[in-house]
Structures are given as structure tokens and as C-alpha cells.
């Protein structure tokens, strides 16, 4: 569940938490695009380092590190697959450049995880819903989205209880061949899905009995307004994109291995 931990929002106050979620989202998308544009290790490293001040400002280092640790397994997987595929396709030989390429593919994945993690760690589901509403997403969808985000930790906890209950009936999850192991999860998944559906029906009834959707036109107590911090973030985002485009078009980026 460690990957989920890295996405779980905790109420803290910091300059980053107070930023407008719309701008933050645009920033994350900009980082996302930049990471996709480059396959060399130097710009990807720069993008990686660029996130660190945000993490420190938001004081979410611990959770952020946990989400990186959660992504470590997939990252290793990406690295190994890259190495293996180049090894087998290039006549069973490896150069320093091959390894560097595999490393930058991995780093690209890490940058993506890292930036999304920062976004979700510092944006409350309420804020997110508010942002969706103010970008004219129909309220029903905005509500469904925020509810889904909010229920992730609840479901994770429930999955743990279900696993305990089935283990208590002699189920051994880590036993048997790969196929058997996947099948082992059926007794966990079915109760989880059934209870999620049941929970959603109950939630719908509870909402209806509290007059959900009674007024067609909703007003909000809080409104998102752009502050100075948001303007700074817009500037940072624009700069990142501009520098990235410039570098992509006009600067030849050498691989690190050429320095040695």
C-alpha cells in the first residue's frame, strides 16, 4: 500500500498547499510533457531536481520519499527490461550508453511519479473538486471524482481487513505458481468489489436523504482566486516549458558517458 501512501493527502499548511490546484495541475502537466520530450539523462535529472524545492517547501518529504520507495519496484522493472532488451537486440553486448539510456527511461518514470505525488500530497480532495467545478465540469462529475479520490485510503484499509479474514481461513496468498497466485486474489477482490458497490449505494441513499441535488444552481462558500504564489508558479511553468523547448530544438545534449 506504500504507493497509495504517497498519494494520500494530509492537512498541512504551506505555500504549496495554498496554491491554486488548477495552476498546480498545469505545472504537473508541463513537467510531464518535458519528461516525455527528453530521453537524455541530463535534462531528466534537472527535472527531477526541480521538484525537490517544492517538496521541501510543502514539508511532505517523508510521504514523498515513501511514494518513491513504492515506485522503486516498477522502476527497477523498467530498468531491467530496458537493459535486457538492448542486450538481446544488440548482439549480446552492452555499452555505457545502453546503460545510461536504461537509466534515463527509469528516471523519466520516477519524474512522472514524483510530480504526481507532489500534486496529490499537497492538494486536498475538496480543493480539487472546487477546481473542477470552476473549470465548468458538471458538479455530478466533480463530486464523483473527489469521492473516488477520498475513498482510495478507505478501500486500501478494507483490502487489508479482507486479506486478514481470508488468511484466517487458511488462504495463503504467496503460495503456488504465478497463475495460482493471481487466482489466490479472487477471494480478496470479490468482497472488495462487492463492498465498494454496496458502499456506493448506501452513500447514494444517504446523499439523497440529505437532499443532494435539490437546487439546480449551486453556489460555493469558497472561491478559487489567483494569488501572488500562483502567478509565480505560472512563471515557473512557462520558463520550464520555454527552456525545455529551446533545449530540445537548439542545444545538443551530450550523454553523460561521453564525459568519461
Amino acid at each position: 500500500m506504500s504507493v497509495f501512501d504517497g498519494l494520500k493527502f494530509r492537512k498541512v499548511y504551506s505555500p504549496i498547499h495554498n496554491l491554486d490546484p488548477r495552476i498546480k495541475f498545469i505545472y504537473v502537466i508541463a513537467i510531464f510533457i518535458a519528461a516525455i520530450l527528453f530521453s537524455q539523462i541530463i535534462p531528466l535529472l534537472l527535472l527531477f531536481i526541480l521538484q525537490i524545492p517544492f517538496v521541501l517547501l510543502a514539508k511532505v518529504q517523508k510521504q514523498w520519499l515513501r511514494s518513491l520507495r513504492g515506485a522503486a519496484f516498477l522502476a527497477t522493472f523498467i530498468f531491467v527490461i530496458n537493459i535486457l532488451s538492448t542486450y538481446f537486440t544488440s548482439n549480446f553486448s552492452l555499452t555505457a550508453l545502453n546503460i545510461e539510456n536504461a537509466a534515463s527511461m527509469t528516471l523519466r518514470f520516477v519524474v512522472l511519479v514524483e510530480s504526481f505525488s507532489v500534486f496529490f500530497l499537497t492538494t486536498s480532495p475538496d480543493h480539487l473538486g472546487l477546481a473542477l467545478e470552476q473549470t465548468r465540469v458538471p458538479y455530478e462529475f466533480a463530486f464523483a471524482f473527489t469521492t473516488a479520490v477520498r475513498f482510495v485510503p478507505v478501500l486500501a484499509e478494507e483490502a487489508q481487513t479482507i486479506m486478514d479474514a481470508q488468511k484466517a481461513r487458511g488462504l495463503e496468498l504467496e503460495k503456488g505458481s504465478l497463475l495460482k497466485r493471481i487466482r489466490n486474489y479472487i477471494p480478496v477482490l470479490i468482497p472488495l468489489i462487492v463492498s465498494a458497490i454496496r458502499r456506493s449505494l448506501e452513500l447514494a441513499e444517504a446523499m439523497e436523504s440529505r437532499a443532494w441535488g435539490a437546487t439546480k444552481k449551486r453556489t460555493n462558500l469558497y472561491l478559487l482566486k489567483l494569488h501572488r504564489g500562483d502567478v509565480v508558479l505560472i512563471a515557473v511553468t512557462a520558463t520550464v516549458l520555454a527552456v525545455a523547448l529551446y533545449a530540445l530544438l537548439f542545444v545538443p545534449i551530450p550523454p553523460i558517458s561521453s564525459f568519461f
Binding site: E158, T161, A165, R169, G170, L171, P191, V194, S195
Partner: protein, 275 residues
Amino acid sequence: MIVVEDLHFSYPNNVEALKGISLTIKDGEFIAIMGQNGAGKTTFIKHFNGLLKPASGTVRVDGEETVKTSVAALARNVGFVFQNPDNQLFSETVEEEIGFALKNFGYDKETIEKRITWALNLLSLEQYRKTSPFLLSGGERKRVALASVLAWDPQTLILDEPTIGQDHDQKEKLRQFIMQLQTQKKTVVIVTHDVEFVAECNPRVLLMREGKIVADGIAKNILTNPQLLSESSIVLPQIAQVFTKLSSLGLPKDVIDIYEAKEVLLRKAKESHVK
């Protein structure tokens, strides 16, 4: 026999849930663990079948340390029925649901068939044999969950909140059923907030508060101690309340059982009649 020595446990978020518990549960004992929400009751019982392992201290089930044994191996001797049946039901029919654990433990087909029938009869679920467990009512689902554990006839049975959602008849059946297990020298541990149920069963009561056992004794002594109970947000059983309020008339305070109450009151009535 379950022996717990100086058990400590903390959750990953550094909440210390158990702060040094020592306890011996002999075969054939019937124990009710009570205490307010968050006292550590469920955390404690999850140590009996190894779902949680002690941070320090030891839990031994029949001499074996739970740290060194898998949950599946421990589960054979320690059956655990969870509070919410929906956390475990997944099969297409009640029959398959009950057979799940038996298959996991590697029983042969014939035995499985026999055990399923036995468990269904025991909890009056025969008519639902081929029904989907998801179509049953809450109370029935709870009984299916219980049947699915009873099926392999474990030496120790742990029930987390067994009386929730059960009507009076079912509670009475559960009580009689626990008594029946007692005659077979089976150990039964229940976690419950149901004071009246405990008063009727009169088991050994463990009162937990903030990760510690604050009282351990027969129900009759613990459930008639107003101070002890109020500190754990538990109210006295109704009969004990009446007897405590009437203690000025010379009635004993330690009565929790309806039959005993009747006897005491009848005696008292006869005495005053004679006068």
C-alpha cells in the same frame, strides 16, 4: 492453551495499541473481552492466530510461538470470525463458502461434504445450501461466516462482535452453542459491547483500557462494579442496575443473572410475607 507474555504492539503510524499484556487462556475457557472503542481489543485477538505479530513479548498457542508460525498453520487450531461477514464472503453458494477453508486445509472431498452439512445444520442454514451468500440478510450472512469457520472444528474459536445484527432468538442460539462448545472443552473468546449477552453467559471477563487489561475475573464480579465499568464506558446490566439501586433493602449487589434475580426476589418476598 494460549499463553501471552508481556505483549506490546504498535501500528506503523506509531500508535501503541497494546502496552504489556500477560494472560493465560486454558483449554475450555470462555472469555469475553470488553472495553471501549479503541481499547485494543481487536488488535489483541488478532495476535492469537498470528495476523499480527508481537513487537515485543510472546504469544504461544499450544506451546508454539506465533512469530515462528504462519497464519494458515495457526488458523487450523484458532478459528477467527470477523466482525463484518462482508469482509470474507465471495463464493457463488453458501456451500462453497463453507468449503473454502476446508479446501485450503487440504481435506478430502468426502470429509468436506460431511463437514459442510454438519456446519449448515449447526447454524440452521440448510435451506440456503445452494443460495448465493450475497442474497442473504445481514444476520444470515453473519451465520454463514461463523459456519465457514466452525466447519474445520478448531480448538479455539475467536468471535469479534458476534451478537451485532442478531435477533434475540439467534443470540440465544449462539449462547447455547457456545455452552455446547464448552462441554467439548473448546476455548471460546468473544469481543463484545453487548453487556446483557455477557451477563447471560457469565464467562470470564477481561476488561481492556488503552492497551492494557485493567480487570480480569468472572462476569458476576466485574459487571457489578459500577466504577470499573463507567471508566470503560460500559453500563451495568439492567438486572445489576436494579439490584444496586435496591441495595438499601438488603438485596445483594452482585446479581446479573435473571434466574438468580428471580430466586433472590422470591426469597425476599416470602421473608417479608412471613413477617
